[in-house]
Amino acid sequence: MIGRPRRAVVAGLLAPAVVLLVLFFVIPSADLFRLSLAHMDAQRAIHHDLSLVNYKNFATNPYFHRMVWGSVKLTVAVTALCLLLGYPAAYSMVRARSRLSRTVLYAIVVSPLLISVIVRSYGWVVLLANNGVINGTLLSLGLIERPIRMLGTFGSVIVATVHVLLPFMMLPIASALQSLDAVLERAAQSLGASPWQTFWRVTLPLSMPGVVAGTSLVIALTLGIYITPLLVAGPLQPLFAIGIYYVTLSQLDFPLGAALSFVLLAFTLLVIAAAARLLRVVKGSVA
């Protein structure tokens, strides 16, 4: 075991990252926060007058409430689906018999991360459009008479977002399952637990840290996602991040956009804190 490194060494190792964060995150964020306290008048002139008018606007405007509600719905749906799809997939990936199939499965899971999110989201446009692959196939098979409208629906946003975020759920779960000694599952079976009982009583509880980590990642990313829903459902979809995009880039109300960004940031931090708390509770019973 290597001893505790000296303070100077620690400081030296941390310095580059700290400098980078201060220059490109902390200072811009502070600037953005100051901007959120400014306000734009009817002539689109910005006044730096330290008012809370943007935050009041958020608190009272039903459009923004619909937007928050839309994001919450999307987050719940996407997180649940990522869990339901991601856990079994991560499990079979980790427990695959041959090294080769494990490697191939890992590559498949990681590969979407190597492709631009815009490209991946456009893939869904191609699939889901009225004259897209799915409608085209169904029409030519005679299963439907006119195209089903899929693009632009909330459902299409869910599907595309799940696709984009699934690796973020699977990788932490896979890593937790990897560190779970398979001999524990054998022990459970030798004691009479069926595969199902083994899963519920041993595998799942012991992989909870990965589940909680993946869940908080997916929650945070879903709350802030806008490219994917924008491409498959357009700028009118009531979602938090799309709202910010719209307010900032269409209405050019930068102060309001900044204020909304901070509301989203606070909301996301809250959710992550809750997830971290859950993680501690679970870990306390595990480690």
């Binding site: 000694d181 054998r186 022990a187 459970a188 030798s190 004691l191 009479g192 509880p205 012991l206």
Partner: protein, 368 residues
């Protein structure tokens, strides 16, 4: 005699690599049987086949009179104690022990009683609510045993359960394990590579080598009458003296080893001139300062080196023709009787040596 576990012609291979060759094994009810052998001999594979974690390529596995080849591990009612203990880290001691009863949907009151009984059996009453990580290695070992016993298994399977403990604790647990097994009377199969463990614990032991059974029998039988060089080498600290049969009178055999002639007994029909090995255990030989005289087996030599071990001393004696013999002297006083360079005579009673037929070249398993 009731047979609890029976293997008939069980063979196993991983891909093209055979690890078990047509194994036949019977374990009687209440018996403590050890599978002993070096790593890679197939002993753990055998255990896993009985537990149902591995499917044999051929052969039948019978548990309690029922062929279980198609019965999954969780319906075989075999309690297994793993080398790493494999305790559930997210459960308390009590929940670990109660696990097997809960998955069987035993009534709550019975779970409570039987789990507590099992913990009392391994002297861990009062530890119910402890977390696993708060226990020492020895205590974890006991929990693992209690957990396996709580389900009242048809057979208790133990895979090198003591190898993660330090030497002193291992000796202590050995005694404890024997007491426990006698008390509960559960049929037990114990896998180990430690000959001392196997000798002290077992009613019967099975020595395995390269996926085959070399010999099975009681510890005394195997120690006194090993039938193969491998078994002879694996139990105790043997010297192998290679020579040829010079003379044979009923069971008494005179063997010529270079310039020496020694006497031994053998039931085998050995022709004069046949190559044989006389196996002499380091523990069975005695050292003296007196010259050979007219004794049957007495070889003069010099102490080449000594290893002091407290209650005994190990000597290497070099004979005039270069043959080396290991001799272990028991020393109740803790004082060794000989020093390096002393001229000594190595002697032993003919009935304390074993004759195995074959030349050095015919015994490839022998470590030089």
């Amino acid at each position: 005699m009731d047979i609890d576990v029976e293997l008939r012609g069980v063979a196993m291979s991983y891909g093209a690599t055979p690890v078990l060759h047509d194994l036949d094994l019977e374990v009687r009810k209440g018996e403590f049987l050890s599978l002993l052998g070096p790593s890679g001999c197939g002993k753990t594979t055998t255990l896993n086949i009985i537990a149902g974690f591995l499917e044999p390529t051929r052969g039948t596995v019978t548990l309690g009179g029922r062929v279980v080849n198609d019965v999954p591990a969780y319906r075989r009612n075999t309690g297994m104690v793993f080398q790493s203990y494999a305790l559930f880290p997210h459960m308390s001691v009590f929940d670990n022990v109660a696990f097997g009863l809960r998955v069987r949907r035993t009534a709550a009151a019975d779970i409570e009683r039987r789990a507590r009984e099992a913990l009392a059996l391994v002297q861990l009453a009062g530890y119910e609510q402890r977390a696993i990580r708060q226990l020492s290695g020895g205590q974890q070992q006991r929990v693992a045993i209690a957990r396996a016993l709580a389900i009242d298994p048809l057979v208790l399977l133990m895979d090198e359960p003591l190898s993660n403990l330090d030497a002193q604790l291992r000796r202590q647990m050995r005694v404890e394990l024997r007491r426990l097994q006698r008390q509960v009377g559960v049929t037990t199969i114990f896998v180990t590579h430690d000959q001392e463990e196997a000798l002290t614990l077992s009613d019967r032991l099975v020595v395995m080598n390269r996926g085959r059974i070399e010999q099975a029998g009681t510890p005394v039988e195997l120690y006194r009458k090993p039938r193969t060089p491998f078994v002879a080498q694996f139990l105790g600290h043997p010297n192998f003296l290679f020579g040829t049969v010079a003379e044979r009178r009923s069971t008494e055999v005179a063997v010529q080893i270079g310039a020496h002639r020694v006497t031994a007994f053998s039931e085998e029909r050995l022709e004069t001139g046949a190559p044989v090995a006389v196996v002499l255990r380091a523990e069975s030989a005695a050292l003296s300062r007196t010259p050979a005289g007219g004794r049957a087996n007495a070889l003069p030599g010099t102490i080449a080196y000594t290893v002091y071990l407290g209650t005994n001393s190990e000597y290497e004696v070099r004979l005039a023709d270069g043959i080396r013999l290991r001799v272990i002297e028991q020393m109740p006083s803790g004082l060794p009787s000989f020093a390096e360079g002393d001229a000594v005579t190595v002697s032993w009673a003919p009935e304390d040596s074993i004759v195995l037929s074959g030349s050095r070249e015919s015994m490839p398993d022998l470590v030089p």
